[in-house]
Symmetry: C2
Subunit: 290 residues, 2 copies
Amino acid sequence: MPPLIAIDWGTSSLRGARLDEAGRVLEEKSAPLGILNVPHGDFAGVFASLFSDWMTPAGSVCLISGMAGSRQGWVEAPYVACPAGPDELRRHLHWIEPGRIALVPGLSDEQGDVPDVMRGEEVQIFGAMRLAGLTEGLFVLPGTHSKWATVRGGRITGFRTFMTGEFYGLLSQHSILARTLEADAPLDEAAFLRGVARAGNGEGLLHNAFGARALALFGRLSPVESASYVSGLLIGEELLRQELPAGPAVVAIGAAALTARYALALERQGVLVRTFGAEATWAGLSALLV
Amino acid sequence: MPPLIAIDWGTSSLRGARLDEAGRVLEEKSAPLGILNVPHGDFAGVFASLFSDWMTPAGSVCLISGMAGSRQGWVEAPYVACPAGPDELRRHLHWIEPGRIALVPGLSDEQGDVPDVMRGEEVQIFGAMRLAGLTEGLFVLPGTHSKWATVRGGRITGFRTFMTGEFYGLLSQHSILARTLEADAPLDEAAFLRGVARAGNGEGLLHNAFGARALALFGRLSPVESASYVSGLLIGEELLRQELPAGPAVVAIGAAALTARYALALERQGVLVRTFGAEATWAGLSALLV
């Protein structure tokens, strides 16, 4: 394959890697220049200032996944409807400079009454599949908007988004719970698992969230514990909605601190978990060139 | 009964009524002086400035319900554990001036693993029971923190809180949904009922909330419709958790614009609803004197 400049250009940050012909990462770079922070919307200027030196070798190709392909990004690369695999993404690359710089489209799932969308996670999933040698399975990408995707025959057949991370931010910073919760506290495993277990009581998140307030009022949950308990309530609520496999591992892709929480909750339920980080993005973008 | 000064002193506002010996409201008064807005914590000063003229007739008694009896209020009136009726509240009135001014305690429900609490709603429930001539039933008090209480033999036997109103504020003002939602839009009944129906799909609030974003992205939900749809998702999620009676009416107490939404959703499910407003507070405080 040609030398690849792989870029994950998200809402709040931008990460890039330079790969050699064999797909090995030679160098990485990141900047707090997510699509919402691009001065004057000058995407071409930000790109040139950060990556023009990487693009000098003849035949270099740059693939950009993530929100840079959204309506608020560089250029809109319309969603590709799933089921979709690397082939479909490759066919719908949106070239900014033909043969040289392309935006990777996101995926939509329009099979239900209400559509769903992802941008960037599809590349991470295809990368993790490649790294793990998998052509099927259940994949979770925890985050502000967690994604759960089902893969069959090497293609994403369907997926759903959960606003778990965003709800955590809202509750821990802006709600009444913020008064008795230390949002940045390190993980308290016992409190986290209490929250996960509580989520399964059938009373729903609107009630269980208030329970965190009442427990704090009664002195039964410290501010440090509250942070982990509420995180557990939310992740537990998300897990309730999944058909978890009895045999094969669920593949979790994302920041280690976050995938570790999902692994903790899932392993308590007897579900195996295999985790990947940023390497999944680079492998996924490489897969589009091959 | 003696002349009663009935006060509902909440978090953000304060409302009072002067009642005659027969319990009829002679005059009402309100101020934006909720417990969080009392200058220098001078509760006695605020009380005197607003109500000293009402207290002049000999034998006048003032009863104050709501957050004024909380730890952040005038004086803490400890929770009374339910099951509890007007008798229990009366026995635990917290007198600031003996025989003259008292705080009404709130209720706690400590029957489950996680406690629950209310302050002020218990008085509204006893008032509505009196006005409706009921000694049992299911009562809902929609709001920032909605309360659902079960009444048997004239006493509240248990209750649960749902952070429905607060979640609406968080999602409509601070989340990604705020970008495509007109938070103060008037009710769109069709969009509201679509949201209520969607809440019952078994996918949970974390996923269904993101659906509102996706529908807006696809041009299938306008900003005005989004406000009602998200309200419907939340109220629908709350209703899922109730054992709704087939025969007798659910009693809804609160602001008319809010109880109307609950009535709309409940009546679609074949549940009768009877509504009360501020009069329930005055009747409930009167009931404590008799």
